[in-house]
Structure formats: structure tokens, C-alpha cells
Amino acid sequence: MNARTISTAKADKLFWLGRYAERTYLNLHLLRAYYDKMIDGDAEAYEEYCKNLSLDADFKSPSNFVKSFLYDKQNPFSISAELEFANDNAMVLREEITSETLGYIQMSIAQISSLAKTNEANITHLQPITDNLLSMWGSIEERVLNDYALAILMAGKIIEQIDIRVRFDYPFDRVELLYERLKTHLRYVPYIYDVEVIEQIDKLLTAKEYTNEPFYKEKLLSLLNSIVGTY
């Protein structure tokens, strides 16, 4: 078998596994950061969090906010929902990513399901999920031997990293470095991305036009989310 053989459907699953696993990891990080702000009395800090994710939701209280973002599967940005989305993709990729790698998602789901039963707005028990997700990426690097598969997973991961960083106003150099890394991975899989979109993003970034203005962010996010597809 050609070590690079991969179907379009699997490529799609790999890309979204990369995105959802990384989204879960980053949202755990951000939830902790905003929870920390709320400890110091900034009880409405979660509103900024929701606004950055383009969510128009009124959670009434920080406690409701945390519970929703941890356990509510109807909230697509909750840790429970994101892990399920990651799992839906990972389950059909076992032979590409290996059972060992899949295990880290399964263990994370078991952890959040167990916490959900308590329905406590306690984020201190989430560290095992963060650890599992980091281990999952380590396992991918160690065990995924298909160059295409690895590049697609990484493309999904980095697009998610850029997406979140743009939404949360990270400095330009962080975004630029990630974007260069993304292009390195995409070069391995020229079949999955739109060259014209890359050119437009190149232009936006190299022109040093990067700002936190909503119009600019929306344009960049829109382009970013249309790089990968079947072309």
C-alpha cells in the first residue's frame, strides 16, 4: 500500500479532528483564564468570552456560564460538545491515528461525562483533559506514519490556533508565525487547499494591515475558514 493513500472523506475527518481537538484544548485554556478573571470580581468577564466567539447568549451568572461551557452538549462551544465532535471524527480514523491515539479522546469523554454528573461549575478537575489532548498530539506525532494524514491533522490544528488567536486579539507576530507554519504543512497536501485564498491572506498579512478592527478580523477569519476544502 502506498503510505500516503487517503480518501477525500478521510481527509475531511482528519482536518476536523485536528480542529475540534485543538478547539477543546484552547477553550479549556481560555475558560481557565476567564474563570480566573471572575475570581477577582470581574463577574461579567464571560460576556467578553462569548462576544469573541460570536455567541449571543445570556447566561445570567458566571456559574451558569461555566456549566454551559463545560457540559451543555447543545452549546457547540462546550467542552462536552467539542469532545463529541472530535470523537465523531476520530472514531472513523482508528487505522490512521491508532487505537492508542483514539484512547486519549475516549478518556477525555469519560472524564467530562463523569464531571457532568456532578453538574458542578468546577474547572479544577479539567487538567486530565488538557493532559490527554497534549498526549493525543504526542501520540499522533509518534504514530501517524502517513505524511498526508499528519499534514492534514496539523493544518486543522493550526487553523484552529489562528482562528482563536485572531478572535481573542493575540499579537500579530503570534498569528504570523502560526500562519507560516500552516503553509509548511499545506505544502505536503496541495490537494486540500485553495491557492487563491492563501494569496489573499498573504496579502492581508504581509501588507502589515493586521489590526483588531472587527471588519479586518471578520475578513481574515472568513478567509482562514475557507482555505481547506476539496479543490
Binding site: 502506498n2 500516503r4 480518501s7 487505537s99
Partner: protein, 438 residues
């Protein structure tokens, strides 16, 4: 073994970690659940296994000879050993397979043979599964886990290693592939009840897991479509899609699970399909009755393993016996599988017995009847206590260059103390099956 049993929870945690699940539809809703595992293994001695192994090889060789014969010369019908009605009225018989000789002449590459052991130690064959028998992956991964959790158990007990099932599968696929192209496992998809097995066997055998739409027939060859636009030729397909859905241009035209035109190139010998199409004619519950006769007919040997005592109401003498003894027999609908369509006469009240009587009387070909075998109970642990439950054994026989029996098997048990039904789809659990080396 005590340490293994003590670590039951650890084993189940590992099972959850590896996503060892099976899917089940209830009221139209798909749910995945863990397949309950019991740590107490079924143990088969070396000597007992030697007999079972010989008997299973013999049986599968005869079944393969039968399939090749039925779809070609039909000598067994012409010689009056198997009545033609049982062949041509079988739901598993496909006229579309007439004249086909698959790669290396093998139809049943992977057979799942269900056996039970009676209290006196005699093994009986309950049924042959030659279409898409599932279950080997569960004891395979269970062993992988139990060896991690309790290594000393395997230092102290010389158990044949069963983690080679995927190697046997690869060997079988490679043999019939004959170097034409890659091996693929064709799954109906994520929501198939045995999807875990499809993905796990692909991982362990190195085959590509193909989904509907990934395969295409062009220029009389089968290809796997790559994202780069390149097409990889496929030499062997281990399909986990039912016959009826394999080719919409030959069978069920609404099927989106199969591959258009695959039957045409299968008939040309340009791709191997594992298991062959049309195998259902040989694992039909009615044909089961004739397997001992097939062994004598094709191999000139006495059957090593026994069928459960079976009656065919199709034959007048048997019908008379069945109707007179309905209340003590088990009645099986030949068109059902998975533990469905099985009725124990002793469980029926007078009204239902009468209904059954009429059904058998009106449609004798639809039913077989068997004596209820008082099978040996196996110990399982429930709520920390040892209890006894009914159990069967599915042995896996793989036919490639040689016919080999995998030195293990899926032992399924009923979790209901009053039930003989062990199927996972009906709440059963499973055990590892130890075949002792000495």
C-alpha cells in the same frame, strides 16, 4: 488467574479507553455501548482443542466445496444428497453467482462457527456463519488488555497467543489478492453495529478502511480513490456489507453502501471478495442439517464434530415428530439471525403452541427444530459473586492457502439467568477464550 479477576475494573477501563463498543438500534435510535466483558476466561485444553480444530477445518473445507459446487456443477444436487428446494429457495442463494469461481476457488474465507458444549463435554455445532461473522476483535483486544493488566496470569498459564487474528486475516487476504493491488476493508460506516471491529481490524491488519463511495470500478478493475486524484488498484475487499447491498446494479438498486459493477469484475476474477457473495446458501439454517452429509460427500470422511440433533419439517417423518414434540424442542426460523426467530417450545402457552404448530404445518420449509441441548454453564462474576450462565463459542476458521482455526474464539454468555440467548444485540456479554498450549 485470581489477579486477573481482581483487576476486572481495570480491564473495563482499558476497554473504554480503546472504544471497545458495539452499536445497537433501539426504537430507531443508535446507541453505542460497551460490550460487557467477564474476566473469567473459558479454558479449552490442548487435547480438546486438537479435536475441535480438526473438526472445524473439516467442516469449513466441506462448506467451501459445497459453495463451489452449488454455483457451478451442482453435483451434490444431482446425486440427491441435498434437495434442490433447499438450495434454490434459500434467501442466501443468488442466481447472480451462478458460474462464478472466485479467486483460488474460495468462497468462505472467514467462517464463524457457533458451538456449544453439553454438560457431558460433547461439543455441538449450533450454526455456521459464512457471510460476515463478527466478533474476533473483542477477544483479541481483551487479551491485549488482560496481558497488560495481569501479566503474571500469562506467565503462569501457557495460553496460546490470540493476538495474531489480524495476521491470519492479512495472510488470507494476501493469498486471494494474488498481488493485484491493496487490501481494503469495506465498512457500511460509523453507525454499523460492528464498526469498532471494522476499524480495529483495519488498523491491525494494515488494510485500508474504505467507506461507501471510496471504491470505484473502472476498466474492469476496482480502485480506491485517493485524495490526490490517484487511483489505487484494489486486489481484495474484506467487505462488511451484506450481499444484497454490495452492488446496486446487480442487487438492491437503492443501495448506497456498495460499489456499482463490482459483481461484474468479481465474476471476471479481477477482484477477490472476502467473504464471497452468495455464501448465505451454505449457512442457511435448513442447509445446516445437510453439512454432515456434505462432509461425507465431498471429503469421504466421517464428521468429527456433531450437529445439534436437528429435524427438518420439510421431511414428513421429521414434521410429524416436530409437531408431536413442539413443547420440548427449540424452533428456529431459517431466515432469521442474531438470536431472533428462536422459540423454545417450553416457553409457549397453549395458545402460542397452537400458533407455532400451525406455522410449522403450513410452512415447513421455513423452520428447523432442534433438541434443547443442556449446555454447560460457565462461571461469570456478577456483583462480586460467581454465578453460572449459558454460553456459546464462536470459533473463527480462516481459509487461504491452508484452512486454519484461530486459537481462541468469542465466548458469549447470557446475562439473564433464565436465558439461552447469548447475542450481544440482546444484552449478552463476552469472555476471552483460552486455548492451552500444553
Amino acid at each position: 488467574m485470581e489477579t486477573l479477576i481482581r483487576h476486572k475494573d481495570a480491564v473495563n477501563t482499558w476497554m473504554e479507553r480503546f472504544g471497545v463498543k458495539f452499536g445497537i438500534y433501539k426504537h430507531g435510535v443508535f446507541n453505542e455501548q460497551l460490550f460487557p466483558f467477564d474476566s473469567v476466561p473459558r479454558v479449552i485444553s490442548h487435547d480438546e482443542w486438537t479435536v475441535l480444530e480438526k473438526g472445524l477445518i473439516q467442516r469449513c473445507n466441506a462448506l467451501n466445496a459445497f459453495l463451489l459446487d452449488i454455483y457451478n456443477e451442482k453435483k451434490i444436487i444431482k446425486d440427491g444428497v441435498v434437495p434442490s428446494e433447499f438450495v434454490y429457495s434459500s434467501k442466501g442463494y443468488f442466481v447472480e453467482c451462478e458460474g462464478i469461481t472466485p479467486s483460488k476457488g474460495i468462497f468462505a474465507h472467514i467462517a464463524g462457527i457457533d458451538l456449544v458444549q453439553a454438560k457431558d463435554g460433547t461439543w455441538y455445532i449450533l450454526e455456521d456463519n459464512l457471510r460476515i461473522p463478527s466478533g474476533a476483535s473483542y477477544p483479541m483486544i481483551a487479551r491485549n488488555i488482560t496481558r497488560k493488566v495481569s501479566p503474571e496470569t500469562f506467565v503462569n498459564n501457557h495460553v496460546a497467543d490470540n493476538r495474531n487474528y489480524s495476521d491470519l486475516l492479512k495472510e488470507t487476504m494476501d493469498y486471494v489478492n494474488d498481488g493485484r493491488g491493496i487490501n481494503v476493508i469495506l465498512t457500511p460506516g460509523r453507525y454499523n453495529s460492528a464498526f469498532f471491529e471494522h476499524s480495529y481490524l483495519a488498523e491491525k491488519s494494515g488494510a485500508v478502511l474504505a467507506f461507501p463511495g471510496d471504491l470505484i470500478v473502472e476498466d474492469d478493475m476496482l480502485f480506491y480513490k485517493d485524495i490526490s486524484g490517484e487511483k489505487m488498484r484494489v486486489g481484495a475487499v474484506y467487505r462488511r456489507v451484506s450481499d444484497e447491498y454490495m452492488d446496486p446494479l446487480t442487487f438492491e438498486e437503492s443501495s448506497v453502501l456498495g460499489v456499482p459493477n463490482i459483481m461484474q469484475i468479481y465474476a471476471m476474477g479481477n477482484v477477490a471478495i472476502v467473504n464471497g457473495i452468495g455464501n448465505g446458501v451454505a449457512d442457511d439454517k435448513g442447509i445446516y442439517y445437510f453439512v454432515p452429509k456434505m462432509i461425507k460427500y465431498y471429503l469421504g470422511e466421517e464428521p468429527i464434530l456433531k450437529n445439534a440433533p436437528t429435524y427438518l419439517p420439510y421431511f414428513e417423518e421429521d414434521k410429524k415428530y416436530v409437531l408431536e414434540n413442539l413443547s420440548k424442542l427449540v424452533i428456529k426460523d431459517v431466515s432469521e439471525a442474531g438470536g431472533y426467530g428462536v422459540v423454545f417450545g417450553r416457553d409457549l402457552d397453549a395458545e402460542h403452541l397452537k400458533e407455532m404448530y400451525d406455522l410449522v404445518d403450513k410452512e415447513p420449509r421455513r423452520w428447523i427444530a432442534q433438541e434443547v441441548i443442556d449446555f454447560k454453564d460457565l462461571e461469570i462474576i456478577e456483583n462480586g459473586e460467581y454465578v453460572e450462565r449459558k454460553a456459546d463459542l464462536r470459533a473463527f476458521v480462516l481459509t487461504g492457502k491452508e484452512t486454519k482455526v484461530w486459537k481462541s474464539g468469542l465466548t458469549r454468555f447470557s446475562r439473564n439467568p433464565n436465558s439461552f440467548v447469548v447475542n450481544s444485540s440482546q444484552g449478552g456479554g463476552f469472555k476471552d477464550t483460552w486455548v492451552m498450549e500444553d
